[in-house]
Amino acid sequence: MECKGSKQGAFFVLEVSGRMDALTSQGFETECMNCLEAGDTRVVADLGGLEYISSAGLRSILSAAKKLKAGGGDLAFCGLSGIVAEVFTVSGFAKLLPVYATREEALARS
């Protein structure tokens, strides 16, 4: 799994690619915590490049989202496709967390 971060307006965009499983998911959580520490509380995770996500990956996402929320920010998602989108739907994460079809929509939210 790889995470590439960039500041875009009020948001910090994390481009996630590869596989997010038990071995790698901690990396995503750590990236989000780094954003929080740097003051970027509003994070958009672009999962367009993500090939696979396991339940451990979902746990990391949940954990990161909760911590960002506790820090006064939020964690939104965009670019979901394929099996990742399916996992989000089946697991109900699509209902729990803000998910947008495109990055533009995610960046356009207030």
Partner: protein, 712 residues
């Protein structure tokens, strides 16, 4: 390193000195057995080979140089010896030859009368003991006109010196060699030696010198004076010459006749040429030719007399024209050289042996600590980690090695101690995990059929953990009259955390379900009032609502959930009197509905979130009615995400396809067939997730007679 089977002491009698088991001695014993391959041996061999080679080269060079020098010396000494012998002989022969010459001068002067001649002769005999007799032979009619023969002869008779007169018809001395040759050659001539039997019974030679009368052009030969010389002294002299041990000297005349020779019967009987002819020795002939020409030479030849090779020095005796030969055997000449070589070889060999001993001792000394180290290392290798490392006193590489070994031993001990404790702790964890696994599987219901006596439905479930403990679970229990709750869940993550969370989830859900059922019953009994569900009917009211169960369980799980773990749950309640199923899903994989005689289909879900993620989440409850023969297959993603070695997923499509083929199997067979199919699909690939499935088939109220589970 050596093989352990010759470790000293392990087999008494195998090695020469297997008396002790202690490390240092053991090392020495082993080394004495294996010395042929040891450093000490190779070091010694190398040094000694080099030294030996140098020694051999030096000895050889010394030998040849010494031989050259000694040989030259020996040659010189042979020449000198021959010359000395010649001089000794000459010292006696030369005065003898002057005696007849002196008488000749006196006769030439014509001062002596006949009696005077006899007196002179007698005097000369008295003066020269070697001279046996003297004659003064005159030319025919040269002394007295009336006497053809006049030759007064004085000689030693047994009773004293006496006189006679030579010549007469019976002895015409003028024709004799002793007279003719000096007369013609006008010089002193020594005759061939002869053995005089009549005169003195001795070896003799005659020295003849001519004398003259007249002066200048008128000078003519007037006669010949002779001296018969006994040569016994010469024979003794030559024979007595000691030439080394087996060397010898000999004389030949100017004709080549042997005068003396150590071999008996050679003197006077043979000439050098006859001897050469007889022995087919052309070299001897050449030597003989040179000798009678008066040559003085050293030649290397082989003695006919002794058969030994050696040096022959020959030199002329000027006064007689004879030639002296001195033969020196080579081996005796070389004796000095050989003795020198022998001595130097003995010294060198002794030194070499001494050096060999020293080198061996030094090499042993150098390698002794190594061998002791080897003994200790063997002990360590054999598992005796506390073996004492030998103290190395020398400040060299061996000491470094010993220190390195000691460090290694210490590291090894530390490492093994760590490893032992790590292994112990791992084994403890393993054992705890085994027990945990038993506990975890133990809390899952395994009574099939779940409600003995009830044939309205049949149910079977199985769970195959990927590891000792996992996060999957299933559960089923009655929850009110004619109501049966069954569920399946999957905790995020794996291992011990998942197992804990699974135990909590399963317990909480069951508690909630039973409490909801109890509340429903109470509400249904007390008030028959409406439940929160919009489409609640009277018969449904007493049925626990899975959505409520999940909502309450979710709130319980999500509170203080620091780890952010969650669980997906599919929870359903069957009213087995009617076949009605109420169900809700918390983010779980959609179950498969197997309608009798129809294709399998996935139950649509609402995408409700997983349980434990956030509080206050609502879960939708759906309802469907099972007809007799219809079945529900609940599973976790361990089934659909099972992977084969090619990293392909088992997948929802394959699941539906397989279930379609299983048709009329009972629930246990369906479960087992599905598990086997997943296992076959994985084809040996490691199972990454728990595989859990639960199959429920509704048989209807009247199914008891027509269809039974038959198994449990």
């Amino acid at each position: 390193m050596s093989t352990p089977d010759i470790q000293p002491g392990t087999e008494p009698g195998k090695g020469p000195m297997t008396t002790s088991n202690s490390a240092p001695t053991g090392g020495n014993n082993a080394s004495s057995i294996r010395f042929g391959h040891g450093i000490a041996f190779r070091l010694s061999a190398l040094v000694l080979s080099a030294v030996g080679a140098i020694f051999v080269v030096m000895s050889t060079a010394t030998y040849f140089m010494a031989r050259e020098a000694l040989l030259k010396n020996a040659e010189q000494s042979a020449r000198t010896q021959a010359q000395a012998l010649v001089q000794r002989i000459e010292a006696r022969l030369a005065p003898i030859s002057r005696v007849p010459l002196g008488l000749g001068y006196e006769l030439s002067d014509g001062l002596l009368d006949d009696a005077g001649i006899l007196r002179r002769q007698r005097q000369m005999l008295l003066d020269n003991p070697e001279i046996f007799g003297m004659a003064a032979a005159f030319e025919p009619f040269g002394r007295h006109a009336d006497q053809e023969y006049f030759a007064p002869y004085t000689f030693r008779a047994p009773l004293g010196i006496t006189h006679t007169s030579l010549g007469g018809p019976a002895y015409r001395y003028h024709a004799m060699d002793w007279y003719q040759i000096p007369r013609e050659l006008k010089e002193i001539i020594w005759s061939e030696p002869y053995f005089d039997e009549g005169g003195g019974n001795t070896l003799m030679a005659t020295c003849s010198a001519p004398f003259y009368k007249g002066q200048g052009r008128d000078r003519r030969v007037a006669g010949v004076v002779t001296a018969d010389v006994s040569l016994d002294w010469l024979k003794r002299l030559v024979a007595s010459v000691q030439v080394l041990d087996t060397g010898y000297a000999w004389l030949i005349t100017r004709n080549g006749t042997y005068v003396t020779h150590p071999a008996p019967g050679v003197a006077f009987n043979e000439t050098i040429f006859s001897r050469a002819e007889e022995n087919h020795d052309p070299e001897l002939r050449r030597i003989g030719q040179d000798m009678i020409r008066g040559g003085f030479k050293l030649v290397e030849t082989t003695s006919l007399h002794t058969g030994k090779p050696g040096f022959l020095v020959y030199a002329p005796l000027p006064s007689t024209g004879w030639s002296l030969g001195v033969f020196s055997p080579r081996d005796e000449l070389m004796a000095d050289v050989n003795r020198l070589a022998l001595v130097s070889a003995a010294l060198g060999g002794g030194g070499f042996l001494l050096l060999a001993g020293l080198v061996a001792i030094i090499a042993q000394g150098i390698t002794r600590p190594l061998r002791r180290l080897r003994g200790a290392a063997r002990e360590v290798a054999g598992g005796h980690l506390d073996a004492a490392m030998p103290e190395v006193m020398s400040r060299d590489e061996v000491r470094d090695l010993a220190e390195a070994f000691a460090n290694m031993q210490k590291s090894l001990k530390d490492h093994i101690r760590d490893l032992t404790s790590a292994t112990a702790s791992r084994e403890r964890i393993q054992s705890e995990l085994r027990i945990a696994s038993e506990i975890q599987l133990g809390i899952l219901p395994k009574t099939f059929p779940p409600l003995p006596g009830h044939t309205e439905f049949e149910l079977y479930a199985s769970l195959t953990p990927a590891r000792e403990v996992g996060g999957d679970f299933y559960d089923f229990f009655p929850c009110g009259p004619d109501c049966f709750c069954f569920l399946i869940g999957d905790v995020s993550g794996k291992g011990v955390p998942a197992a804990f969370y699974m135990a909590v989830s399963r317990t909480l859900i069951k508690a909630v379900a039973e409490s909801v059922a109890g509340a429903g019953r109470r509400r249904g009994a007390d008030r028959h009032s409406a439940q929160p569900g919009a489409n609640a009917s009277e018969s449904q009211r007493r049925i626990p609502n899975p959505g409520h169960i999940l909502a309450r369980a979710n709130n319980g799980l999500a509170e203080d959930n620091e780890s952010c773990m969650f669980v997906t749950v599919f929870c359903a309640v069957l009213d087995f009197a009617t076949g009605e199923v109420h169900y809700a899903s918390a983010g779980h994989n959609p179950p498969v509905l197997l309608r009798a005689g129809a294709a399998p289909e996935y139950l649509p879900t609402h995408g409700d979130p997983v349980a434990g993620a956030m509080t206050g989440v609502e879960f939708t409850t759906d309802t469907l009615t099972l007809n007799p023969g219809d079945a529900l297959v609940l599973y976790t993603d361990g089934v659909t995400e099972a992977m084969n070695p090619a990293q392909e997923l088992y997948g929802e499509d394959r699941l539906v396809e397989r279930l379609a083929k299983m048709g009329e199997m009972n629930v246990r067979e369906t479960c087992q067939a599905l598990a086997e199919d997943v296992h076959a699909f994985a084809d040996g690939a490691e199972q990454s997730d728990d595989i859990t499935m639960l199959v429920l088939r509704y048989n209807g109220l009247n199914a008891a007679a027509s269809k039974t589970d038959g198994k449990n």
